[in-house]
Homo-oligomer: 424 residues x 4
């Protein structure tokens, strides 16, 4: 059989096709020349699957959708605390092109409005000869998994009418939020906005965030978990401009739109979503794009508040093994965070005191968080106090050195079947 | 062994004990007489476990923590659309005691500020002889699982100095947001705020939201899923007043505070949390309460953006059964939403065309959402088109009539083992 | 002949009759029942002449036009400094019915918006058994020169729907701007607004301000000069609500409107003006009333910035008298303030040193300000130093004791002709 | 004798010398190097006298005090209506360096804030080869009565750090308030601000406004009366930035400050005032300058609301002339506006019907406004209807052709004495 997911995406696109509201953004000639009928949707899962439909090979400029990733890059480079000194995290309640400085701190309210994005751009650290925009292009290429390029025509055209961004740049210079030539920074910022992407690129980028910063296939850590949390939080509260409350209730997906007609969304732990349709509303958000997001949220339950309880599935199986059926085995599966650990410990609580050998098998875990490791070993210790012999089987090496610290002696690196042989 | 979770809670409390910032709220004498050293924390899991620590039996008035539940009640009674005509969902960017009317619609910006909460109170539907406050008390008692009562002294005292709320009430009357006597409504609202609760009550109430509106033990539907989504979304964007962006990044838990010193939080699908410590900051938020939430979020990864991928655990096991090992069995586990269904279908895709009997066992699912059911049966149909014979085993009756519609003939209600016997 | 001034007024009224814009105020039934075609205009001169035209005997409620006079009354009773602690003088930039508190001081921004007017009403000092509204009625009756009365029907009707004012009252109580029962104060304020007046009453009241607080005929001091200055300044910057700059440029007359359709205006030193036409614009200002004021300003040059230089006319005549034509006489006329004194002294400067007898005749002065008296006597002293004998003739007693202090010996109280006889 | 006015000025200066509040403006190096102890005051009368004290020869840059005069220049060049399409007249309620655009019209709120001043600068009409700043320099030189020059050092220095003005310029370009290169306009605006003046220059400039736009000595019309009215109105409501209401009540003089430490003020019909002291407060207003203005207002009654009634002095004398004492002569004096005309007509009303020859002598009038001429000839006509023969003696040619239109036959251009000879 063929999974019907691609058909779902097609169906959603066909439903939105009737929606012809909105206008092509016209503040730069290149955007006004876009084909208004282009329509594309891509959806990627946290574990690396990607579906797409419509004009999924069509390239467009990333525009404001670059903002969360420039923010992610500087958070990685400078750390959250240092960046918070320069750009806030509060919704501005104003249109995206307002200056919106925090009154007390004199810093832009958040990195999703232009003043915050220009300041963020200025914070990108580069090595000699590499521009900030190029640095970001490389970073996005890594997340997208292919080499992205700049749309020089859009970039050149936009620089000619970048009055508002120049105004914002000079104001940032005035208040000290920028300490270098505003024209150069605005120039770089506009180049950043001219990186070309497809919906598939965006969905690939989004799934890195959906997957907690890890490469969905290699497992390589591309972004620190805390950075992902920060970026997604700011996307949620500041990403869709004015009507944050409306977006949160009706869609409930951290997202960011670009005036070229794209919207990129991330449902943590689940999916990355990207849409493209160039007709935008008065806020600069793609009209069909919003429509699509609303349908995905309503029809597919893709909403942040539709929390999926994963705790109940943490114990894959529990059985007696060994020649005498006297070895107690717990096979775990999924991700071990607080709620899963709590469930695990609650089950371990049922073990009566005694001198049983208890085996906790981590082989099928996809991830173990620090809190999960802490709670796991706390449970191990308590079982030991009850008289048991406890062994943690980590054949895949999912535990980090730091997580094992002080508990190495209970961890074995063999496969479970291999380990259990000794009890035969 | 004993689960270490209670010890974690105790540890968190002890760390916060050093924090003596904030002041007792003094705008009504009763609050000013609270014991400033009282401190309590309760945590409940979506599946019905509850942990608590500190002064967990101490009763205090619910105050503004009643707001999300009055909102939930009227959403249930009138439907989301009708309530949206009366009270918005946008953050106000202003202090809780401002009037904050939406300029175009002349309705309160959201139900978490006083003007919105007073309007919400006025929308509570009651039967003759039952006051709105009493109606809410009964509703909260049901969620909490015990009969709650009013603190008459606080209520009477607060009425005497309710100048600001009376001012707000009259302004709402002026703009038409209220159409009845403001004094009566404000009176009722203040009584609503005087319902007495403990942190355990609050944690019990919170877990109904965490569990998607279902009673965590009986599975009874106490709140519509859409209502839960709406309430949690509004708590997230408007619950902690001014610094919504800061709360979202550093805590990331939909929450609501009360000036008496409590904070109630909900992490959807995972936990309900309630804290109590009566010293509040200038926004009326419990100082230690915020401290506790920050620690829980940072130390335990309890943050909305720490999404747990549950998709990978949806297939509990997959094996060949039957005398001839020619019956293909998929045992599912957990909750079947979009991402889990996508994963299931991706696996089913691997089945080569043929005339195999394929059994999908739902027995261990805790919940199947509509989108999950739709995708399941879509997969069934496609497998049939490939020539397979497909059977859905639903021995627990987890599928609703509506979900099964048109597919009843593939569903069997027997236990899996019983059903498989026919292939022996 | 007959002065054409009444014909001018009639002409202005007839021109405005074509203007049928605006609506009857409908927030209380009584105002909505007004005859929309009523139209009246009165103009009074600082020296006591009054002209009127149209429905000049028609009574209407004073409404917000009571605000500057309640302010004047409390300024008289408490002093400017004390009142400034309670009500500011800054334009609010908001509609009249907003609360508009100064953010730092938590006091209403000015006495012309409702919050400021309600606070001002609460400051009226009365003796036992006399209500604040009655105290103001007596004060206005004195200024108007006839006994005014309350419109009980309007007052009773307005109290029933005074939701906004009650809201404002409770908010003022909350922030401490009121320290007594808001219902009682709002009640009194609404009664204050129900005092009945005609345009002639208003013009009579206005000319007291135009005349520096003096009764235009008896010369009795009804209002302190500093109070007049304060009241007129506040009327200018805050009297016509939102578009203060537009009013100032196109009309340039300190004024206050009432929702009943009246506008009262004062051009200091020149005229008092009152108009009535009950159709009001969205700001609650009489549409025809504004039209009339604009015509009076444009056509008759009645604009604050059309300053009339009076300095050049201060010396009525200057001549030699006495048998030997050796007594130098300066007859003064008009009002002696700084600019006139400067002109006088500039002329006296021309007197060569010598032992001439110099007579300064104040008989035809209408007023001598303190600064005028100071400069006059300073000039006297300098002439004496030059060797002259100087005499100030004050047959009408225009100099106060305080003004003469230390210079009594140069002042004679005889008539000039009588005094000059001794030189014959 | 010597007029004591200079001593008064000296006295005021010496009182302010104790006031050492404020700081040198430091946003450009040149201003920060000013001598903080410099102190100067000049006062000019509407008829051309000038007094000055302190460092009255010290030159400083005009800065924001150029704003009202650039506004006056473009009002003259384009007319009030056209300029109102580009720059409003409403107080902004914001600091001078905010952009403050009118929300509906997208134009700067007024010409006294930087955005309005930059837009105003762009409106200056010039001929080829003359920059806008040079055009204004010539205009100000004419008003000041001497050739002013630019401070090139200040200008060059300020251009280097003109970030805020560049930001404002680009924003104006964005919203279409500017339609040319913002850098060029801001450049010109900063040059305009670098015109060097002394307090005497400023007082000379101010008195042209005080004198209704006429050269105080030659009587030449340098500025249209309507323009003067407009400029003074805007100075009053927007000139001293934030605390317009406070300035109006406590000082009551239309004024404009510059960050270099000067303040220029105009009391229409009376005096021009200029002060200089470089220490400024947080609003950029000279601390001692404000102090001086408050003292002049309080001590000398120089306040807009201290209106001087000039009506009573319009009739210089009234007597019977001619051989038979049957020619009735009215000698008028001062300025003939509405209130003076009303007084004159009121007196003419006393003339009984008959065939008397009535002579109205305008020789001593300094000015006759259009409304005055209209009312005068209306009175003439009514006297004629009563049977009188009326002659208007205008030996100085004060009546314009337009004012005489239709009434030429009653006007004689001889001197009064010459004219009266025919009745001897």
């Amino acid at each position: 059989m063929q999974t019907p997911v691609p058909d779902y995406l097609k169906h959603v696109l066909s439903q939105c096709q009737r929606n012809v509201g909105g206008q092509l953004a016209d503040y730069i000639p290149e955007l006004a020349q876009a084909d208004p009928n282009k329509l594309a949707l891509a959806l990627s899962t946290a574990d690396g699957m990607i579906y797409s439909s419509g004009d999924d090979g069509h390239e467009f400029t990333i525009q404001s959708m670059s903002k969360p990733f420039a923010y992610a890059l500087v958070l990685e480079q400078l750390g959250i605390e240092e960046v918070l000194q320069k750009v806030g995290v509060e919704p501005s309640g104003e249109a995206f092109n307002q200056i919106s400085l925090d009154k007390e701190l004199n810093i832009p309210k958040n990195p999703m409005i232009n003043s915050g994005a220009i300041t963020t751009h200025s914070l990108i650290q580069t090595t000699a000869g590499i521009s900030r925009a190029e640095q970001l292009r490389r970073f996005l290429s890594e997340l997208a998994g292919r080499e992205l390029s700049f749309d020089e025509q859009v970039y050149t055209s936009e620089m000619k009418t970048a009055f508002r961004n120049l105004s914002i740049g000079y104001m940032l210079r005035t208040v000290g939020a920028l300490d270098t030539d505003p024209v150069e920074i605005v120039n770089g910022y506009i180049q950043q906005c001219a990186i070309k992407v497809t919906v598939k690129d965006l969905a690939n980028i989004a799934r890195v965030l959906a997957n907690g910063g890890l490469h969905p296939k290699t497992g390589e850590c591309l972004l620190d978990r805390a950075v992902v949390r920060q970026v997604l939080s700011v996307m949620l509260s500041c990403g869709m401009y004015d009507a944050a409350g409306d977006w949160l209730t009706t869609v409930g997906i951290p997202a960011k739109s670009g005036v070229s007609g794209g919207i990129i969304g991330v449902l943590p732990g689940q999916v990355g979503i990207a849409v493209f349709s160039p007709r935008v509303d008065e806020h600069g958000n793609s009209v069909r794009g919003i429509d699509i997001f609303e349908r995905l949220s309503a029809d597919m339950g893709l909403h942040l508040m539709e929390g999926t309880p994963s705790a109940q599935t943490i114990i894959q199986s529990c059985y007696w093994a060994g020649k005498n059926d006297d070895v107690r085995v717990y096979e775990l599966r999924g991700v071990l965070q607080f709620t899963e650990s709590e469930m695990l410990l609650r089950n371990l609580q049922e073990e009566p005191p005694g001198d049983t050998t208890i085996v906790l098998d981590l082989t099928n875990l996809t991830l173990i968080h620090d809190v999960g490791a802490r709670m796991l070993f706390e449970g191990v210790e308590r079982l030991q106090q009850d008289g048991h012999r406890v062994v943690v089987v980590d054949s895949e090496g999912i535990l980090s050195e730091a997580q094992m610290k002080g508990n190495k002696r209970v961890v074995v690196k063999e496969k479970l079947t291999k380990y259990l042989e000794k009890f035969q």
